[in-house]
Amino acid sequence: MDIELRGITKRFGDLVANNNISLKIRAGEVLGLLGENGAGKSTLMNVLSGLYRPDEGEILIDGKPTRFESAGDAIRAGIGMVHQHFMLVPVFTVAENVVLGVEPVGPLDHLDLATAREQVRKISAEHGLDVDPDAIIEELPVGTQQRVEIIKVLFRSASVLIFDEPTAVLTPQEVTEFFGILRSLRDAGKALVFITHKLHEVLEVADRINVLRGGKVVGEAEPKTATEAELAEMMVGRAVHFQVEKRPARPGPALLEVRDLMVTNERDELAVDGVSLTVRQGEVVGVAGVQGNGQTELVEALAGLRPIVRGSVSFLGRDITRASARERHLLGIAHVPEDRHRSGMVGEFDIAENMVLDSYYDEPYSTGLTMHWPAVHKVCVKNVIEFDVRTPSIYALADHLSGGNQQKLIVARELSRNVKLVIAAQPTRGIDVGSIEYIHKRIIAARDAGVGVLIVSTELDEILSLSDHVLVMFRGRIAGEFDAANVSRSSIGLAMAGAAA
């Protein structure tokens, strides 16, 4: 089945999310759709999967104009979407999840699970998707859960499959396996769309590449001949420096010392299991690892937000194992939380209020009970300019900023005061390349000024370009320790998957 999008335009109020986009999706081909966050990729795919109706333009299936009134129409037409965040019921089995909504039934509406299981088995065998139909979803690794999502789409007889940032949650090894699945689906004649912002992945697996920027298709590329630099320039609109420019670190004395740390998660399971690490003044320590291997709990414990079960944390020789978040803040520890919307800022507060969210209680912002808003506003203006937060006014709500500017606001808040240690979790997740470069620059500048930095990121590229010292976390433990000067992607990848380093 071939699909053609012709002149698709989709507006939200004044915002043109898709501006006259035309592209072709062909059977037996992987189309790589490349673009930054906010480039319009998701909107376009939501148009294609029937969730949004375009304001202008048309969708042609095998040359015939088609209108989707709902997501159901698109599914019936054979278009399936594998979402970035899986839409699975965690306590159901694989087979139950696959048939959910289109269950095979016998007489008296009896749920025919035997047939369901058989069908799941058949689809898995056909496409080399190795999954046990009776396994419970929450017990499966993420890579397998993704296969269940793929089976779900195939079960609904999709001939066009759209993958939205499918590799974000996978280890490098799982990514390789996933690419194998993509190729086998392509060879079976499916039309595939692979949405991503990772250049090397799209070069590796796509047959054709379309680049989106600012809601428009700004270019097409041939994976065999295109280079990462060309694609990045198309995606961002200017030349991009991948490598953060930095001098060799000149580490000073130890700042943060963590010994045999044990921390539990919400379900009282051991999430951090005996982690020891040291961050010295003037160095960046990077913690790599696939999401969900205890990094979140580690950071929260270090920031004083999660109780420490066992082990010790000391800062400048002082024991802070039991210190509260506020006490650590006062000692000069800054924390950039991993989820800016959930915990990094108050969306309905203005920029000025967010700028003092964790320092409002002290001079010059307040004395006793009384807030000094003029002082807050003055410092806020200074920080907004210094940290390049693009906003018409400091009274704009944080919610109204772009993701990159929200993150710059948080980085400004945390770095503008007198800090000795910065703990940054996913500091550049989901933001534009310009903001990423800027935040990386500020982090290195802080390092060069003698600040110790602990970066936790699931983006291996980010870890490699910033860190002086790399740790890999796997199942709550440090699974590998590397000096950034002589480390290879593959050895980190192996450690991320749990193979002994």
């Binding site: 509260s324 924390h335 959930r342 108050v346 807030m371 009274y395």
Partner: protein, 378 residues
């Protein structure tokens, strides 16, 4: 700080220019006004549907207006009724701001009223400037304690404040019934549940008796206005208010910023309870002069509605409180003049709340009053 003593650059000046997004006209003004209008309209239709003739409906609405704003005495009645509702609603609004659903204003009002009345009749021989503040403080303290209990339960055990405040309402009501039937609270020589009368040294002074001895407006309205300003100051000019608002809008971000959620919960509930307790004290010291079962007149429950209608903003709460006071005062006049049952007022009040709580419904009913499709980006 020396670098601040210099000329502002153009860039800095531009950044501090006020932006329009601070005030959402649709949410704060259009929805409430339309809700009130639609509720009054439906109230009229309800009257017609129950067999009231068209001229009587007209008469009823005329009485509703003259009874609330039509004369000095009407205005006095409106403001007298508005004071306790507004005070209690300020407490509820404070809870909303901090993300707490404090249903307990009624119970806190009862606790405050009972404490105030007890101090008001039991301490003799004190001058007004000692006795009255003592009685008011007793009301504030009792309300604060009654409010702090559910706050403390939530902070320490996670018990939901909706459940605990409802339970404490019931306890307050039944405890009051018991106290009013037994010494030392019960008025000596009486067999019905009624407290001893508040001494004149603890009464809130009447403000307009020099114009007409029947005007009931008392100093409670001044207290109310002061509290409106005080709550505004607390919410928007203090560190505590900053913490309240941050934890109300995003509790996780507040925690990450080092704010102590348990302290905030207890503080909000105690201050909210204090305001409701003051409302109860206002009622017994300013209007009734004693306590009887149901002396609050349900103001603690109406306060929830008023806080919602006023969008939890002190100024909005004041306006909504005056509106509810007007419905109360005008409703009585309506009953007298047009013979329409005062229950209609309860219907109108209920409809207002239903409409305010359903802004999408207002949008569907009055599409011309709203901006076209706001961007609904995921």
């Amino acid at each position: 700080m020396s670098d601040y003593i210099r000329q502002e650059t153009a860039e800095e000046a531009a950044l501090t220019r006020a932006s329009a997004v601070r005030f959402d006209v649709e949410q704060l003004l259009i929805v409430p006004v339309l809700a009130v209008a639609l509720a009054i309209l439906l109230g009229g239709l309800t009257m017609l549907a129950t067999g009231v003739s068209v001229p009587t409906v007209g008469q009823a609405f005329a009485a509703l207006f003259t009874g609330s704003f039509g004369s000095l005495s009407a205005i006095s009645e409106t403001l007298t009724a508005a004071a306790p509702i507004t005070l209690a609603a300020l407490g509820v609004a404070l809870g909303f701001r901090a993300g707490l659903f404090n249903i307990g204003a009624e119970g806190q009002m009862i606790a405050g009223g009972m404490a105030a009345v007890t101090v008001g009749f039991s301490l003799t021989g004190l001058p007004v400037f000692v006795h009255l503040p003592l009685a008011l403080l007793a009301g504030i303290a009792a309300g604060a304690i009654w409010g702090a209990i559910p706050g403390w339960l939530k902070a320490t055990t996670g018990a939901h404040e909706v459940i605990t405040t409802i339970m404490l309402n019931l306890i307050a009501m039944q405890l009051t019934n018991f106290l009013l039937r037994n010494p030392p609270i019960q008025k000596p020589g009486r067999h019905d549940p009624v407290s001893s009368s508040v001494l004149s040294s603890a009464e809130l002074p009447k403000l307009l008796t020099w114009l007409d001895p029947n005007l009931r407006l008392n100093a409670g309205i001044i207290i109310t206005l002061v509290m409106v300003l005080l709550v505004y100051w607390l919410l928007f000019r203090t560190t505590l208010g900053f913490e309240f608002r941050a934890s109300g809008l995003n509790p996780s971000a507040a925690r990450y910023a080092g704010m102590r959620s348990s302290l905030i919960i207890v503080a909000v509930m105690a201050i909210g309870g204090a305001l409701a307790g003051l409302a109860g004290a206002n009622q017994v010291l300013g209007v009734l002069g004693r306590a009887t079962p149901g002396f609050t007149g349900g103001a603690g429950f109406n306060a929830i509605a008023v806080a919602l209608l006023g969008r939890s903003h002190p100024a909005g709460v004041l306006i909504a409180g005056i509106l509810f006071g007007a419905l109360d005062a005008g409703g009585r006049q309506m009953q007298v003049e047009a013979g329409v049952r005062i229950d209609l007022i309860a219907i109108i009040q209920a409809l207002i709340i239903a409409f305010v709580a359903a802004p999408m419904l207002m949008r569907a009913a009055f599409p011309w009053a709203f901006r076209k499709n706001k961007p609904a980006r995921p």
